[in-house]
Symmetry: D2
Subunit: 147 residues, 4 copies
């Protein structure tokens, strides 16, 4: 993949992410993209917490799921689209702190199935603490042609 190929892929991904209603609702941002890698961030606010004041597990899952799909999506040009087939997520510690960060990285690329490792960290007084780990399978298929 050349740098200009990846720029086009990255531009497409940014556009798709900006069009997701749920991404806007949650308030998560795509922080960085590289071939096989994506970083999403979400700043703390009351609406994304559970009843004990930690980031809600569903919010962590959302970042993990989206981050994994986006990381896999960096491996493909615009003729293919990616879909989360499945993932498994372990919650490791209460997600406190001011910011939630999801780092997703392709472990094994593949034409139809891409396997991604994703981890979620909380930023607590300037230090990152691991709060969740996931292993995801992302399916890729030819994008239907627009009419």
């Amino acid at each position: 993949m050349t740098v200009s190929d990846f720029s086009a892929i990255a531009a497409d991904i940014h556009k798709a992410v900006a069009a997701q209603g749920f991404m806007q609702l949650v308030g998560a941002k795509l922080d960085s993209l590289a071939p096989g890698e994506a970083v999403l961030i979400l700043d703390r606010r009351p609406e994304v917490l559970q009843h004990n004041g930690f980031f809600h597990g569903g919010v962590i899952a959302f970042l993990i799921d989206n981050g994994s799909t986006i990381a896999a999506g960096t491996m493909f040009d615009r003729t293919r689209m990616t879909l989360t087939a499945e993932y498994k997520l372990n919650f490791l510690a209460p997600a406190s702190g001011s910011r939630l960060i999801c780092r997703a990285k392709v472990l094994k690329p593949g034409r139809t199935l891409t396997v991604v490792e994703a981890k979620a960290y909380c930023l607590i007084e300037g230090e990152e603490k691991l709060v969740a780990a996931a292993l995801a399978t992302i399916a890729s298929a030819e994008r239907p042609k627009a009419a």
Copy 2:
């Protein structure tokens, strides 16, 4: 467990769910509770969709996660609290339709670990279609005494 025991448990669960900021943000509702079982529902609206107009995977995960924890929570009185340790989720079909329904059921209760099966369905023209399946491990621990 007697019926009055379960009523107290159910009342506690309804109160905890009502206090979740993220549950309110997403707009999901706890539809029904029984010993070992919980049903959550979420009606379609733009904010819970992804860019192709389907319910967002993160929303489905949130319902599965919350439904599994709630189903496990029905097995314990107020001296114990439940936490999602981990889950695995397969997406089976695009989540279209007017309503998302999550049915979670305890497969194996246990004092420290409860295993729950959860499925998500979409209501499409009056028929339920299976869109996701999950297997979750919910941890239970003694609730810290309030000061």
Copy 3:
């Protein structure tokens, strides 16, 4: 799928299973096959136990894995082959008893990905006890032509 189609598929599966060195080593048997379903059994003997006298977790995983792939394989004719992409397995109870039984059932068939639910039971004094539950993703691809 007609009955004669399925007979040909079943015959192919029985042949492939018989050729697996590990299946022979473990001593597991393919007990029954139906479209979307497979049952494997393994009788107790010292070599398949762990150090406390229960069926070894690795043996249970092997039956779950093989059973899931075989159940998915019933959905395809001989032009396609199936491979386990991933699975998640919860151990629910110690696997005692005289026989281990794995029942695998297709939850969602698909041309490239088939999702299978599998459960393992122990036969204890004539009664089946659930000891493990799994959710598996089986990939299917065109079988390479023989030269």
Copy 4:
């Protein structure tokens, strides 16, 4: 944990592994142990292969399962025992080569739940190739007192 504490733990683990009938049947060896880490190896032979000549998925799962439990077990003294609660395993590539190697590492230790990452590699002409990745939850409980 002091070095002498860990030596006692390591000796206990070696003894328990040597007593596993299935470990002997498969022919796997515990290659190395460190606090939070375990390495298992298995050399190629016909009985551990599937019908295409690759290491059988069930064999890989067995190494992953055992390696994860052993890695978690390094965190506890002999008053506690460890049990695999669940794991999720992705198969990434056909497992060819002369040797299968499983490296398991504790991601998050805990008194009742320890989360472990495990990877399986094949040794092919002197180079290691990643063939499987897993995320496991290992439960720990007080060991029943011997009579």
